[in-house]
């Protein structure tokens, strides 16, 4: 919990203070981990005092928001749909405070909402898989069958079908964010059904998918942050969702005085999401495929290709 901000607290009494409130314990979730890292990084760049409050359960979110207000933090950043209701209440009651919500929208004059277009990155991932698969079967192991995850599955499928209409796409749901053993079995099932590429989208379960890939020699991809370093022979890609970038961006705007409420979208264009892949000797993707994928990327950015948001 300790921050770099505090160390320099002595020399500047009018130091500005930023609170980051995660809707659950950071624990298993790289999305929150990098959010936290981003906040710390921004705090040290802009010499701010920063504190992260983790919420043990959904009820604790509102509690933490109120505590942050009571303790007079100047900017309060929170994230995800779990926080939206609580933020609506707290932000409406405290119109003088500035809030940021990441990954959801709260329509209030003192709230900046930042949302991602994950489907764009998923589209790229699907296209890359579709271009590279030899068996014409690819799969994805997904944490839960909830609407949010459609951004991943649907985007992937759109990209896959665009480049390889005949490829078949397998999806399995683990039913938990923290069950690598089951995720691994699901990846093995997809492999046994002929998939030579299985994308991981099951939070901690992804580690199980990676292991299955290593054991059976198929290819896989990671989530949120660059996971390829773990095992570049099998984890050939990673779909990025740069929460840290968004946090830093928000803090920067606020420090610079250009804090604007309303919805800010982060897609490929804004570098909020992206795709990274193993660059040298990628065992799965040919150079041609890599080039095709970069082409698609620029097409999405330029608007030549539109990726349908499954939730709209």
């Amino acid at each position: 919990n300790d921050t770099k901000g505090r160390e320099s607290a002595a020399d500047d009494t009018k130091q500005k203070r930023v609170a980051l409130i995660t809707p659950e314990k950071i624990g298993v979730n790289p999305f929150f981990q990098i959010m936290d890292e981003g906040a710390k990084q921004a705090a040290s760049t802009y010499k701010l005092e920063q504190k992260t409050l983790e919420s043990a359960d959904p009820n604790a979110i509102e509690e933490n928001l109120r505590v942050a207000v009571a303790e007079n933090y100047d900017l309060i950043i929170t994230s995800s749909f779990q926080s939206a209701d609580a933020l609506k209440k707290v932000a409406a009651e405290n119109p003088d405070k500035k809030f940021v919500i990441i990954d959801d929208v709260v329509d209030l004059p003192n709230v900046r909402s930042a949302v991602f277009r994950e489907q764009e990155a998923a589209y790229l991932l699907g296209a890359a898989a579709g271009l590279s698969t030899k068996s014409n079967t690819v799969g994805m192991v997904v944490a839960m069958d909830i609407p949010l995850m459609k951004k991943w599955t649907s985007g992937f499928e759109q990209g896959l079908k665009a480049v390889n209409p005949k490829a078949s796409f397998l999806v399995n749901y683990v039913g938990s964010f923290t069950d690598p053993a089951k995720a691994k079995e699901m990846a093995l099932v997809q492999y046994s059904k002929g998939a030579d590429f299985v994308a991981g989208a099951s939070a901690v379960g992804d580690l199980g998918v990676f292991e299955a890939a290593k054991e059976k020699g198929f290819f896989t991809s990671g989530q949120d942050i660059d996971r390829t370093a773990i095992d570049p022979k099998h984890i050939v890609m990673s779909q990025l969702k740069s929460a840290n970038h968004v946090v830093i961006d928000s803090i920067k705007q606020w420090v610079e005085g250009s804090f604007t409420p309303g919805v800010h979208e982060y897609g490929l264009k804004e570098d909020g999401v992206g795709l990274t892949y193993v660059t040298d000797n990628n065992p799965f993707m040919t150079q041609a495929a890599i080039e095709k994928v970069s082409q698609i990327r620029s097409d999405i950015i330029s608007g030549k290709i539109t990726v349908v948001n499954p939730l709209k």
């Binding site: 298993v28 069958d145 749901y173 099932v189």
Partner: protein, 304 residues
């Protein structure tokens, strides 16, 4: 989609069922000693963490498994002391043990490995996969029965050992007596407490193995909360199997089969939540056929 049942399915069932089976056997011993152990979930979790930690510290898989067992033994001793000596309510202690396991493993994960959520190191070695020399040569059966970690084989061996123990040995006979009637056992001079501790500690060993299989056998990592309810499923398997080793094996395998089938049925015609219900629904359905409740009784009455 065309083939729902194949050899990889059977392989998967056997792998997935092992931690549940081991924990359920441990739970059965506790039930036979009159202790209804809802702390299985926490004990497996500690085992899983202990195995990874042992592997990291000692660099030897055998020692890692022993280390895991040792960690869980401390926990089960705690469970035993509170329930047997201090006469605390077994269920409350079980739930508290689950909390404690969750908190401690998460804390130690960040304290020792300096990571949050999960510890994964691609160079960490998992348990070796064994092939039984002659068995693996048999055409289909060989494939079904080969390529598991030693813990998997020992789990199924333990079913037989425990069965023999409970029904053929003196100690096992006394064990059963304690479970049948604490008062009768006590009146004949059986050291009831000694048996209760033995049950709890053996349960600890089994949960240690279950955890090691989960974190070093099935995958090679530790993730916070990676037991994902397996302890409770083990509890159900124990009750459904009426605390009888063979029965427990049957009910665990039934659950495993349904779980594996539910994975394969995803995306066929039912929405996923409904396919996920399958193992639970089938287990309830199975109870329409198994009605002897001798040990279940112990569970519910000891809790009041």
């Amino acid at each position: 989609m065309n083939q729902i049942i194949d050899i990889s399915l059977l392989n998967s069932i056997i792998r997935m069922v092992t931690p549940i089976l081991l924990a359920a056997l441990g739970g059965a011993l506790c039930a036979r000693a009159g202790l209804f152990n809802v702390g299985l979930e926490g004990m497996i979790l500690v085992g899983a963490f202990g195995a990874v930690l042992g592997n990291y510290l000692l660099g030897n898989l055998g020692l890692a498994v022993l280390f895991a067992v040792g960690c869980v033994l401390i926990f089960s001793l705690l469970y035993g002391y509170f329930t047997i000596h201090l006469k605390a309510n077994v269920i409350v202690v079980g739930i508290a043990i689950n909390f404690l396991a969750m908190g401690l493993t998460t804390f130690l994960l960040s304290a020792i490995f300096h990571v949050k959520g999960a510890y994964y190191n691609k160079d960490m070695e998992g348990l070796p996969l064994w092939n039984i020399p002659i068995l693996s040569k048999i055409p289909v059966l060989g494939e079904v029965l080969s390529g598991y970690s030693p813990i998997v084989f020992s789990a199924f061996l333990l079913v037989i050992v425990l069965h023999l123990f409970l029904y053929r040995t003196v100690a096992g006979f006394r064990f059963s007596s304690v479970g049948q009637s604490l008062i009768v056992a006590q009146s004949t001079g059986i050291k009831v407490r000694r048996y209760q501790y033995a049950a709890v500690l053996t349960c600890g060993v089994l949960c240690g193995l279950a955890g090691a299989q989960l974190s070093l056998g099935q995958v090679t990592m530790f993730a916070e909360g990676m037991t994902s309810g397996r302890g409770f499923i083990a509890l159900v398997a124990m009750m459904l199997g009426q605390a009888n080793p063979l029965g427990i094996m049957g009910s665990s395998l039934l659950f495993g089969l349904m779980d594996a089938l539910s994975v394969r049925m995803q995306g066929l015609w039912l929405p996923t939540p409904f396919t996920m219900m399958l193992p639970y629904a089938v287990t309830i359905a199975a109870m329409f056929f198994f009605k002897d409740k001798s040990y279940l009784h112990g569970g519910s009455s000891s809790s009041r």
